[in-house]
């Protein structure tokens, strides 16, 4: 599974695993959208702590989920990006659309 989904009230947490590129983005998007459409959460957390590689397809994935969450009146949060992913997040300016949160206990 390229993504593990954890749900609680008003919240969907998607923990992406492995490499996030154009090849893998489709399946990840599908899983996330399925949960979001079913639960219509207030907050979608996308966790990157277990992502070993990401290119701009990952930015596209976040932007697409931001648009979906806007439609249902919710927000997107980007959690625990490793340094290489943080670099590409900064270039993209995605922090204007989604908060980037680092929770220390999940960092190794």
């Amino acid at each position: 599974m390229p993504v593990v989904i954890e749900t609680s009230q008003d919240e969907v947490k998607a923990i992406i695993q492995g490499e996030l590129d154009h090849h893998n983005a489709g399946a990840i998007r599908k899983s996330i959208d399925e949960s979001v459409e079913r639960l219509r959460p207030k907050l979608l957390k996308i966790d990157f702590s277990q992502v070993s590689f990401m290119d701009s397809s990952g930015i596209g994935l976040i932007m697409g989920r931001y648009n979906t969450m806007q439609l249902i009146g919710g927000e997107v949060e980007v959690d625990n990006p490793p340094p290489a992913i943080e670099k590409i997040l900064k270039i993209s300016g995605i922090q204007k659309l989604a908060k980037i949160i680092k929770t220390e206990e999940e960092q190794k």
Binding site: H22, H23, F53, D55, S56, G64, I88, S92
Partner: protein, 147 residues
Amino acid sequence: MSAPINEMKMVVESRSINEGFSRVAVAAFAAQLDPTVEELSDIKTAVSEAVTNCIVHAYEKQVGKIYITASIYDNQIIRIKIRDRGCGIENVKQAREPLYTTKGGERSGLGFAVMESFMDKIYVRSSVGNGTTVTLTKQICGRCKDD
């Protein structure tokens, strides 16, 4: 520029499964320059962007060949050429603008912007109907700064 010290050439089909293979193969070749983890990740990301462009745009409705050449020159310089024989880009300047995309929704329009910021130099040559060549250049400092 003088002849390269070492060179690797490969051809892959424009199937998305080859995105991962291409970036890892180029990174493995670049490893002889003793790059830092960050430099290696920069190269992987830039190659991934260029190869994805070939698959998503150049060969949108077909499977074509992607020609990758990685060459090492003096002063720890690596030059990576990624060439396709696909549709070509009508307006390269516009294509290179951050956030410009012809695909909307799930594509960020950041491919060229990422290549530009992760590599030292990027050169794009394109001809409509004939294909595109993207040349990425980076000097690998690796641990040379410690010397």
